[in-house]
């Protein structure tokens, strides 16, 4: 290649053409839409519906790649039974995904690619095009900088959009993304666009007020299983499971059968689950190895610190959702701080 990859520039109208092009190419396009005080990834047909200045959505894009509920297969119970699968995902384009969520998707990609591969997730992922969006602002609950997951990203997207003030910088992150940008006839961006982006990133980096550095945290947390912070924090925890449902790296699910009223056919379903719920770790005859609330809270936080569960795959990307949506104002960065000896 000799030098940096091709860069493009466009204006708001150009972004609208991009969305229309995706839709005419068979993609269902989702983007961050503001409703009330919150943002949601909703189906869009124009950039006008999107808030390019958003902070974070309530649910991460996980809801489209690892949906809250999905059918694994159908079964019929006639003579014995027969099982049929139906994995036919439609093509989806995620428009305007922030760096923390891009990193989370990368981790889920790797997690679900482990042997044996998860065919449902991967089929959906292969049919998904991802258009990232550099953040324009940081709020008091963002801490991607200290997690090494933002505000700058170099992978995890097909195209990355950055608002540089007087236009949009478009960086291809895959062959598919490059092809798409070329096909739209966007002009090449000069160095001033990259410089403007760098300036924005530097400004963003200065605005972080919350931090939870990864260095040594997993080992430290694992060595402090008896620390008082677990029980103290659990005093406030409601075990509602919000933290894990809004977490972009939480992947745990329950599996159950639903039988039709005719008692002859049914479906096996999987549904997002939470280790914060009492039933999650129940075993035969009423046994439960995480019966105490502090054990469930500790397990989830250890998982987010990279010391339990899926390790790095399920560890925290610093999006701040669990803090925003905790009804008991529990903040895992404060717990990490306590473990590090502060407070």
């Amino acid at each position: 290649m000799g030098g940096a990859s091709q860069l493009f520039k466009t204006d708001l109208e150009g972004l609208d053409r991009l969305i229309r092009k995706l839709r005419s190419g068979g993609y269902v396009v989702y983007g961050p839409v503001k409703q009330g005080r919150s943002w949601f990834f909703l189906e869009i047909d124009s950039v006008k519906q999107v808030d390019l200045n958003y902070v974070r959505t309530v649910l991460p894009p996980k809801k489209l790649l690892h949906p809250p509920r999905e059918k694994l297969f159908e079964f019929k119970l006639d003579d014995g039974f027969e099982v049929s699968e139906k994995p036919t995902p439609s093509a989806v384009a995620l428009f305007g995904v922030h760096p923390c969520d891009l990193k989370a998707i990368e981790r889920q990609d790797e997690f679900f690619s482990q042997t044996p591969e998860d065919p449902y997730y991967l089929a959906r992922r292969r049919n998904t095009l991802i258009i990232g969006l550099t953040c324009t602002r940081v709020d008091e609950n963002c801490f991607c900088l200290s997690r090494g997951t933002g505000p700058e990203v170099s992978t995890g997207f097909d195209i990355l959009i950055t608002d540089v003030g007087n236009g949009y910088l478009l960086e291809p992150g895959s062959a598919k993304g490059l092809e798409l940008l070329k096909s739209l006839g966007f002009q090449e961006a000069g160095d001033e666009y990259l410089e403007a982006k760098q300036k924005l990133i530097e400004e963003l980096k200065k605005s972080f007020t919350k931090h939870m550095p990864s260095e040594g945290l997993a080992e430290l947390a694992k060595s402090l299983l008896d620390h008082e912070v677990w029980k103290e924090t659990a005093e406030r925890c409601l075990s509602c499971g919000n933290c894990s449902l809004v977490c972009p790296t939480c992947y745990c699910f329950d599996v159950y059968d639903v039988l039709e009223l005719n008692l002859r056919s049914g479906v096996r379903v999987r549904e997002l689950d939470s280790c914060q719920l009492l039933e999650y770790a129940e075993v035969a005859l009423g046994g439960n190895f995480r019966r105490n609330r502090f054990q469930r809270l500790r397990h989830w936080m250890l998982c987010k610190f990279g010391a339990a569960g899926g390790g790095l795959y399920s560890s925290c990307v610093g999006c701040g959702r669990c803090i925003v949506y905790c009804p008991a104002s529990i903040d895992l960065t404060e717990v990490a701080g306590r473990l590090r000896g502060g407070g």
């Binding site: 014995g80 065919p119 599996v255």
Partner: protein, 274 residues
Amino acid sequence: MNPYVPRIAVIESIVDETPDIKTFRLRITDGGFSFVPGQFVMVSVLGVGESAISISSHPDDAEKFIEISVRKVGNVTGSLFRLKPGDKVGVRGPFGNGWPVDKAVGKDLLIVGGGCGQGALRPLILDVLRHRDRYGRVEILYGARTPQDLMFKYEHDVWASVPQGCLLLTVDRVPPGVEWKHNVGVVTRLFEHVTVDPANSLVCICGPEIMMHFAVKGLLSMGFKGDQIYLSMERRMKCGVGKCGHCQIGGKYVCKDGPIFTYEELKLEPDKIL
């Protein structure tokens, strides 16, 4: 291949082991099956659900059949108990790692079972019987609640006749009128009769976690090291393939990293009785 879709198996025969444990012999209808001792399968009664159950037969028979020994404890196992020979169930797997049969070659083996944990140990015991020369001295300790709750009673004479080995049985209590010539007390009470050499042996344990806790304690004080003690762990499983998260013990997945762990591997993990 979709790891979530079960294969169809036909129940060929059912043995009543105890008042609440049955052994089901299953024939997989669509071709081959192979496993190693200590692995488990996910057994489906479609419309009810799926449970993780250890395979209790020997791998050499897997082309013809596998057996699972099931205690009736919930919805899925309760439904299994209502099935008859000829009925069909779903089977996924085998999953998990298995007993350290290769590491055990040339070593003494101490096999400690409690309750229906003996189901997961039977493939190992059958391997000793079929390949006696692979192992050194083999001592089998097995405890249950009452004499009626002992599984595989029809095989105990064979287990007990293993050359250079022994079978020691114990029960928690003997109901009035039941004849019992073996020991009474928890399974760790049998440790005083153990003669395998801690320096050159492996221990394989499966039973309720509280029993394994006391067994490990006893074994460590006898001079066994944590990495010689293999434990088959029970945790809830929904997928069996390391995805659903339910079976996590700290950072370990029982379905994928286990179900068999050395005590050394587990001792620092949270949320266990061990």
